[in-house]
Structures are given as C-alpha cells and as structure tokens.
C-alpha cells in the first residue's frame, strides 16, 4: 500500500484492455500546474486553459509529432478526486498509449498510478465517503445489473440516503433521551416520554426496513457462484466444459483428476456467475485431494447455486457425507444406461433427502437441457434480488450487529428506569450506525434538541 503515502502526479490509461482500440483515455492527476506539461503540447499550455472544455492539439516529442488528441482539464478541487486532472483522448493502439505514458513518466515527472489510486485520492480529499468508494467499486466491477444499480445507489442514490435518514432518526431518538435527562422540567415528563417513544418507533421502522434487505445468507450476490459437486467420475468436468463450450478442465476417465476446483465466468441473463468445478469428494491419502475436499465443502456452503451430479451406478463411500450439504439441483447422469430407473429409485429409497431436491434425469448435455438449468438459476436470482438485498459484507455485518443491539435496547427500555444506563446502551448502536455513515457528537444531539424542542425557562 505504498501509494497511500505518495502525493505526486500519477498517470494511467483509464480505458486500457490490453488490445488495440480506436481510442484510449489517459488520465493524469495531482500535478501542480498544466504548464509543466507545456513542452509536450503544440497548444500553448503556459497561459490559462479553461477547465472542463475539450481542446484539440498535437503531442510533440523532440520536435516530432507523435499523436493528435483531444484533452480536457479539470481544475482541483472541482474535479473527481479534488486534484488537478488532465484527461487525454488518444488513439487506442496499445503501443501508442504506452509511448505517451512513458513520455509523461520520463519527461513529465509522473508516476504510474497504483490500482485504485485515483479514487483513494478522492477519499483522502473528502470527495467521496467510504460508503461511496465502496459503491464506486461495486459499480465499476458489477457483475449484474442489480449490482450496478446498487453501486450507483451507494455512490449518491437512495441507499446513501437511507443511511443518512437512519442516522438522522437515530440522532432524534438519542436527543429524546438526552431531553428527558437535561430538560424534563422544561418540557414536562409526559412530553419527554412521548418524544422518546415516538422517535424510537420511527427509528425502528426505518431500521427494520433495512434489516429486511440483509438476508441471512452465506453467499454473496456481488459475484454469485454456481458450484458443481459430485462423487468422482460423476461427470462434473464434462458439464463444466459443456456450459463453457470449451475444453478447459482436464477431462479424464480416471477418478480424481480434478484435484482442486476450476473457475470460469459465465453470463446468464445479464448476470455474471462464477462457475466452479470441485474436486471429487473421496477419502484420500493424497494431501492435496484432502484439501480439495475441504474446499469443496466450503465452496458448497458459500455457493449461490449448487448442483449435485450423481451417477446412480457408482455410489461409493462418502456419498452420505456429501448429501449433508445443501443443494439446489440434482442431476442424475447415465440415463441411457440399462437399469437407470431402478438404480435411481433404489438410491432415493436409501437416501430420502434426495427426493426433496429438484431433479433432472440427464440423457445428454443438450441445449434444451441447458435452457432448463439456466431458467432455474435465473429464477432463483430474480427471487433473491426482489427483496433488494444489500450486497456489501461490511454493511451487512454492521446492520446485523446494530439489529442485535437494537433488540436488546428495546427490551431494556421497557424495564430499565436508569436513563444513564439506557443511554449507554444506545451509544453502542450509535457506533454501528456512525460506522455506516458518520460520527455522533454531543453537540449534534444538543443541536437536534434545540431545533426541535422548546427548552428553557
């Protein structure tokens, strides 16, 4: 994290994909004055340049024109991260981009930016709050339309607003408690009690709405995972490859070839999923395979959607243990083999829990079958985002923690007459909420009291 301490000018290509493109945007941030780059530009940069306006010019190296480009100057502090920023729209050939960056590094005193450094500076310069940075990260790296929306919502939208409203309601309730201590005589006990109860109710209502959005689930929806599990040789890797339409996993008929798990990304109805092929679960002397088994279990626990593949003719030791994991779908393979139905029925009789999971009998890996699977996965996804879940772990954790504190506080507030003790319990909740968005100070409480209540004699 060395970049946390550097504050000189930094440069990076903001659009680079390591492939040639028609154009690319290079961003330079944190320089003192545009004039320091004057030698590289045909346009005179020593005079004033109007910010936020696009100019066309040529880039010059030792008297030779190396590219023609458009640039925009954003003057700090009115810029994305509060610093002076120069954006160059250049031709997108990667060699061209590299040559221009090298020019600014060697001759212009710039350093290559570390990942996230532009945004870190925005945080440092108070242009963004931590929540907003988290939102930005979610937005830029979103794997689904829903994550994209939530990223934006955290950046400046209604989730940020919901936190702010929650915080305001917390301050109101906290003031009502302080009111009953410092000013009960001024406003009367009855009124103080009423403010206390009303403000707690309002806070609780808002808070419970937020708690509903924190699903008590282990898997995350930022990058949902589809996990394939099954006994060795049950056909996981074949399915994996089929879904990816490319030969990636080592497909072999020797059991236990896939030692750890393989990961690829697949797109289903606009959502990017991680597709994971696990190792076969089998007791093994091989340490690596044992580790693989452990990871499989963890992967299954954290998965968004888990598929169990079963070859009813090859049930070995460890199957019962595997069944202890939760599954969304069971695929019975080898439907084409004689005696499939009988073998399957026998298995379901022996392991009744199998009967309660949705099952597909697989004859072959066909597009029709794939469609059915995709529908299943998408249905689950749509169902889960319908409650507008909060995606970020830090936020989920804080909200759940505050939820626990709130219910303790509500019980306490019914029978504890010592207001100072009550107030201390409330502070614990304040810490959670202020971590979501801000900090509470005694003066804020007093300010809130004075603006809402008539105090004094």
């Amino acid at each position: 994290m060395k970049f946390l301490y550097s504050d000189g000018p930094i440069i990076a290509c903001s659009t680079c994909t390591h492939a040639h493109a028609a154009m690319a945007v290079i961003r330079i941030s944190g320089f003192k004055s545009l004039s320091q780059f004057a030698p590289f530009f045909k346009k005179d940069l020593t005079g004033p340049i109007e910010p936020r306006r696009v100019f066309y010019t040529k880039l010059v190296l030792q008297g030779q024109i190396i590219d023609d480009l458009c640039f925009t100057y954003f003057e700090g502090p009115k810029s994305y991260n509060g610093e002076n920023i120069l954006e160059l729209s250049v031709h997108g050939n990667t060699l061209n981009v590299e040559r221009i960056i090298e020019l600014f590094v060697k001759e212009g005193g710039c350093q290559l930016a570390a990942p996230g450094e532009f945004t870190y500076r925005a945080l440092k310069n108070k242009k963004l709050t931590l929540s907003q940075v988290e939102g930005l990260d979610l937005f830029l790296n979103a794997n689904s339309g829903y994550a994209l929306d939530q990223g934006l919502s955290l950046l400046s939208g209604n989730l940020q607003e919901a936190y702010q409203e929650l915080y305001d309601l917390f301050i109101k309730h906290k003031s009502s408690l302080e009111l009953s201590i410092d000013f009960a005589e001024d406003i009367g006990e009855e009124a103080a009690k009423q403010y206390f109860e009303e403000s707690l109710e309002a806070f609780d209502k808002k808070f419970q709405a937020l708690v509903k959005r924190v699903q008590p689930m282990d898997h995350n929806l930022i990058q949902p995972e589809i996990v394939l599990a099954g006994l060795p040789n049950s056909g996981k890797s074949s399915l994996f490859n089929f879904l990816l339409s490319e030969e990636r996993a080592i497909v072999s008929s020797v059991a236990g070839t896939t030692r750890d798990y393989l990961t690829e990304t697949i797109l289903i109805e606009g959502v990017k999923y991680k597709l994971i092929d696990t190792a076969g679960i089998r007791e093994s002397e091989d340490l690596i395979e044992a580790e693989g088994i452990k990871r499989t279990k963890k992967k299954l626990r954290d998965s968004f959607y888990s598929i169990l593949l079963i070859n009813p003719f090859e049930i070995v030791e460890g199957f019962a243990e595997l069944l202890n994991n939760p599954f969304d779908l069971v695929l019975f393979t080898h439907k084409d083999v004689m005696g499939f139905a009988a073998a399957k029925d026998e298995l379901i009789n022996k392991y009744p829990q199998l009967g309660s999971i949705g099952a597909i009998d697989l004859l072959s890996l066909s597009p029709e079958w794939e469609k059915e699977l995709i529908n299943n996965v998408n249905k689950k996804y749509l169902q889960e985002i319908s409650s507008k879940p909060i995606l970020l772990d830090r936020h989920k954790h804080l909200i759940l923690q505050a939820s626990q504190v709130l219910s303790n506080y509500q019980i306490l507030s019914k029978h504890e007459s010592d207001v100072a003790i009550l107030s201390q319990e409330l502070n614990a909740m304040g810490h959670c909420i202020s971590e979501l968005i801000g900090i509470v100070s005694p003066d804020q409480i007093l300010n809130s009291i004075f603006s809402n209540f008539c105090i004094g004699k």
Binding site: K78, I181, A184, I421, D443, N447, F450
Partner: protein, 625 residues
C-alpha cells in the same frame, strides 16, 4: 503593552486581587485565602457579595454535580446554598442515580448576607467597594485603579455582565451590568491589552411579580423535599437552616403567545435593537413565541426570591418587551391575572472574552498572572461561574505557593468538562453545562463527588477541617467497599428472601457477596445496603452508604463506558488538516466558516465545534473508519 515606570511606594499591595464580588469572585477569593495569602476583592459599591440577579436557585441537572464538586474541593457555594436554601428538590429523581441532581431555591437576600458574613470573617480577605476604572501591568505585578490604587501579583477578573453592559426594555435603553447599577466601561478601556470578542452575548430576566397579588389556588404547588441532602459535606445531611416554602407551576396559553406575537416589532430582540447572541437553552418568551409557532403552552415556574422579599420570580417568561406588553402577557396567565409587576423584565448585552486565549488553569495565554472566570468567559449560570472562580483562585494561589496547578479531567468532573469545552473552542452562544456534554455521565455523579475530587483537594497540601473529614471518609469508604466484597450471604439467609423479586428470573439462588447483590438490576442499592448493614448491626453514615452502594451498582457499566471512551479518544486524537476540510466542496458554507475561524487540529476538536453538520463529520471520518 502599556508599562508603568514604577508603582507608588505606599500603595496597598495584595498577593491576589479579584475584580468582581459575584459567584466566581467570592469562590476565587475563598479558595485562595485557604493558602494563607493576602487577598482583596474589589467590587462595585451597592451590591452585596454573591448576589443573584437572575434565577433564585442553585443547582439543577448537571449543575448540582458542579456544586458538590466545588464543595468537595473546599469551595463556598454549597455552604451558602444550604444556609439560604428555602426549597430543596431532587431533579430526575426516578431516572437513576447518575443523572439525579439537587436544586435549591435560595433566599437571595439571605444568600448574599451569608456570603458577606462568611467572607467578612476571613481575616486575609479584604473587600474593597470601588469601581475599577484602569488596570496596568508592570514586570510582575498589576496596578488596579478605582478611587484608590492597589497592587497585586495575580489578578483574577470576574466581571460578569458588566463589561460594556447595555440594558433593554422595549425601546428604553440604559447602560450597566444589571438593573439599577452603574455601568462599567468596556474591558479594552480598562485593560488595553485584552481583546474581547466582536460578537457580544445577551441574557435576559423576567418581570418580578408582587408575591401577594398571585392567585396560588390556580397553580400547581411544588413543596420542598426533606430528603434532599445538603450540599456541604460538613453540614448535617438533612438539617434546614431557613424556613421552607413552596414553588408553583403556571402555564402560558394561547392568549399569552398571541400578545407576544402581536408585538413583534416592539421587541428589541426581533427589531434589531439587540445584536448580542442569547442562549438557545434559555429562551425569552419572544423566542418561544416565534421559534415554536405551534406551541402555546409553556411551563412557568413561580419561584420565591426570598422569605422577606415581596417578589416572586416567574421563571420561563424572560423578556425585553416594553412595559405595557409585559403587563398584558403576564396577566393572560392563569393565576397571574392580577399580578403586579414590581420590576420589569429586561435583556442585557455584554462583552465576553475569547476563552480559547485561556489555559486550562484559566490563566491568560499571552498575559501571565492574569485569570478570567465566570460570565465574562461567555458562560451562564451561578454554578458555572463559581466552578471557574474556584479553578482560577486555586491556580493563582498554587502558582504563588509554587505547587502543581489544578486541572480537572473532563473524565472526572463536570467542571473539567466545562473548562476543556471553553478553552478548546470559541462558542457561538452562552455556555451552560448539561449532562449530555459529558462522555462519562455514569461516573460523574453527585454521590461520589467527594471521591472524585479528593485527589485534587489532597494536592493542595492543606490541613483544614474539611481535609480531616475527607481523609476519614475515604478510610471508611475503603473499609465498607472491602466489607461488600468479602461478606458472603447465603441464599438461605432470610435477608435474601427480601431481596428476591417476583419474577422467576429475579430469584437469588446461590451464595453471593454483598457487592454482587448490590449489582442486581431490580434492587435499589442504597436501601439494600442499608438493610444488610442493619442486619449485621453496623451503623454507617448516610453519605458513606450512598457512595458505596451506588459505586458498586455502576461498576460494570463504568468499565464498559471507559472502553468506549478510549475508542472515541483514539478517533478524537486523529490529526486533521482543517485547511483542506475548509476548502472541500463537500462541506457546507456555514461549516467552512466555523472551521476556518476555529482551526481545529484534531477530529475531537472538530466535533466540539457547535453547529458542525453530521455530513461534514462523516466526510472527515471516512478516512479513519
């Protein structure tokens, strides 16, 4: 700086001169005199020492704790309040020990007489009744000039609202610190080296009513509570020194507020005649009418000003409206229909100094040996003034005795909270203590004020009756604390049966130490400990039982609160760059102005600035979270 070549030889010389004989002034002189120094109080002729021009009461939420802190440090206020107390109450009686506070209505005449008598008896305090017109400074002494000139090593300014004081009743204006008093000149005229703040402060008083013209049958009576402990630790706990009387509760109504709203343009506060800033917590009746347009019912406490005085103080309706309007709104209140106004209400505007120029000892940072205390520091309230007076007086004396200075931690006392708040930030309005200002409310209680203040009092190195009492108290305290830890009571003891509550969860079903029993949530620790001690045939003083029982009860909570405090302190100590914050486009204009004026170095200081928005703190805090 204006230097005097040489002061006159025959001039009377003192170790410490206190300018002002109000609550801050007499407290400063009283504590300093205990150090065997020569003290003079110079005060305006015609006003008794320790006079109470505003509310006739001492104590209150947060303030009761201050009075007991003053008392435990060897101060004066508790003694005087007990002697002149005519109605005692415990505020927040049902809300737990930590926030319970005592308040005493005082006979203001008696209070001042007691102050005169007590100070008069102290041979090393001289009271000089002159109006100070000039103060000059030589190398290591001050020259204070009124009718005569006096010299001192340490100077304490407790000049209250007298600096450039200006009174308003309607369009009538006069000069002075309060009604019927001669005005003082501005501080700059008296003392050229001191700067006052450009923003003046304002306070006000209600009209005083003729006692015999009020219909008490229409008001709610609030009698004196005989179970409130006297403030002074050496006074017998419940002995009353004066006859006890009642206060009464009246209420404003729609008519009252209509009268005020109809006369807005006649109010000096709303027509621009008064420029000073008043405290939000002490609003005038005009403030109430215009700031809370939907409310018409406000409490008015009718408080006796003295046993032999014929006036009542209607607390809650202070005003600077013209006389005829005051008549009209007073008469609109039920029970006051025929009330005769003896003295009309008025507002006073006065100069205050910038307390960020003061050290935690209340000594001026640029002018050594000069101290400021009381309302001139922008505080309101007799208790706040007295607390500062004690700190200034003690530090002036300690410095002369070459002893360590007295700085109370905000973690241990309300006085400490106040002085840190005052010296760390410029305030936008008069400052009053609230319990909400303390981060350690569970610990800063009335019942343990002696424990909290004892180490500070010990550091004075004095051997007065109060010191002996406190030493003995601490010894007994330690003994009783050990008794509680070491004494185990069997679940079969008949005592335990009386402690068990009704619900199943509240049964005591094992052997417990007395300490554990006192922590049980459903038990009142004080009466429980009383019962246990009498069971063992032990006779222990009321004060001791209370201190030990409540300390035991809160023990666990206080430890938790200290953990929280440590966390916050870490955050508060975080260095910030105020210039950067003031330049940020994410910070509102008002916040920027305040930040640029106060220049906070740490997050803690930023937080203490009044009126800083949560959003600003969130933006700044994001870096540390």
């Amino acid at each position: 700086m204006f230097h005097v070549e040489h002061f006159e030889e025959h001039m009377k010389e003192y170790d410490i001169i206190v300018v002002g004989g109000g609550h801050a002034g007499i407290e400063a002189a009283y504590i300093a005199a205990q150090f065997d120094l020569n003290i003079a109080i110079i005060t305006i002729p015609g006003i008794g020492l320790g006079s109470a021009p505003c509310n006739p009461s001492v104590g209150g939420v947060g303030k009761g704790q201050v009075v007991r802190e003053i008392d435990a440090l060897g101060g004066l206020m508790g003694i005087l309040a007990d002697k002149a107390g005519i109605q005692f109450r415990t505020l927040n009686d049902s809300k737990g020990f930590a926030v319970q506070s005592s308040r005493v209505q005082i006979d203001k005449e008696l209070y001042s007489l007691e102050a005169e008598a007590l100070i008069g008896k102290i041979s090393n305090i001289t009271v000089i009744r002159e109006k100070v017109s000039k103060i000059e400074q030589d190398q290591d002494s001050f020259l204070v000039t009124g009718t005569n000139s006096f010299k001192c090593k340490k100077l304490i300014m407790t000049v209250g609202t007298f600096l450039n004081g200006k009174l308003h009743t309607g369009s009538e204006q006069s000069y002075g610190g309060r009604v019927d008093c001669e005005p003082s000149a501005g501080l700059v005229d008296i003392f050229k080296d001191i700067k006052t703040r450009p923003q003046r402060f304002k306070t006000g008083t209600p009209p005083r009513l003729n006692k015999s013209t009020i219909d008490y049958s229409k008001l709610e009576e609030q009698p004196s509570d005989s179970e409130v402990r006297n403030f002074h630790c050496l006074h017998s706990p419940f002995e009353r020194h004066a006859s006890q009387v009642s206060c009464y509760l009246a209420r404003t109504n729609q008519n009252t507020m209509d009268v005020i709203r109809a006369n807005k343009e006649k109010s000096p506060m709303f027509n621009g005649q008064i420029k000073g800033v008043g405290a939000r917590y002490c609003p005038s009746i005009e403030d109430k009418a215009f700031r809370y347009p939907d409310k018409s019912i406000h409490h008015v406490f009718i408080e006796p000003e003295g046993l032999n005085l014929d006036t009542m103080y209607p607390s809650g309706i202070s005003s600077s409206l013209p006389r005829e309007v005051q008549e009209e709104y007073v008469h609109s209140i039920e029970g006051l229909e025929k009330a005769e106004i003896k003295v009309y209400g008025y507002a006073v505007e006065y100069d205050v100094i910038d307390t960020t120029d003061l050290k935690l000892t209340l000594e001026h940072t640029q002018i050594p040996n000069l101290f400021f205390a009381g309302q001139v520091n922008g505080t309101s309230g007799y208790e706040e003034a007295a607390g500062q007076g004690l700190i200034a007086g003690a530090n002036a004396a300690l410095a002369l005795k070459r002893l360590n200075s007295l700085v109370l931690s905000r973690h241990e006392s309300y006085i400490g909270v106040m002085i840190e708040d005052l010296t760390s930030n410029t305030r936008d309005e008069p400052y009053r203590l609230f319990t909400a200002r303390s981060e350690n409310r569970l610990f800063i209680r009335e019942d343990n004020s002696l424990l909290r203040m004892r180490p500070y009092r010990t550091s004075f190195g004095l051997d007065l009756p109060i010191d002996n009492y406190q030493a003995q108290f601490i010894e007994n305290y330690e003994e009783l604390m050990s008794f509680c830890d070491e004494t185990m009571i069997s679940e079969k003891s008949p005592l335990m049966v009386t402690f068990s509550g009704e619900s199943e969860l509240q049964q005591i079903n094992r052997r417990m130490s007395v300490t554990e029993i006192l922590k049980q949530a459903w038990l009142n620790p004080v009466s429980t400990l009383e019962t246990i001690l009498s069971h063992y045939g032990l006779s222990v003083s009321y004060d001791l039982i209370r201190t030990v029982a409540i300390s035991k009860k809160y023990d666990g909570y206080i430890k938790r609160s200290e953990d929280q405090f440590e966390k916050l302190k870490k955050m508060d100590n975080m260095k910030i760059n105020w210039e950067q914050i003031a330049a940020s486009s994410n910070v509102s204009f008002e916040c920027k102005q305040r930040i640029a004026r106060i220049k906070p170095d740490t997050f803690g200081q930023l937080k203490l600035i009044e009126g800083i928005r949560p959003a600003t703190l969130a933006v700044v805090a994001a870096k540390a979270l």
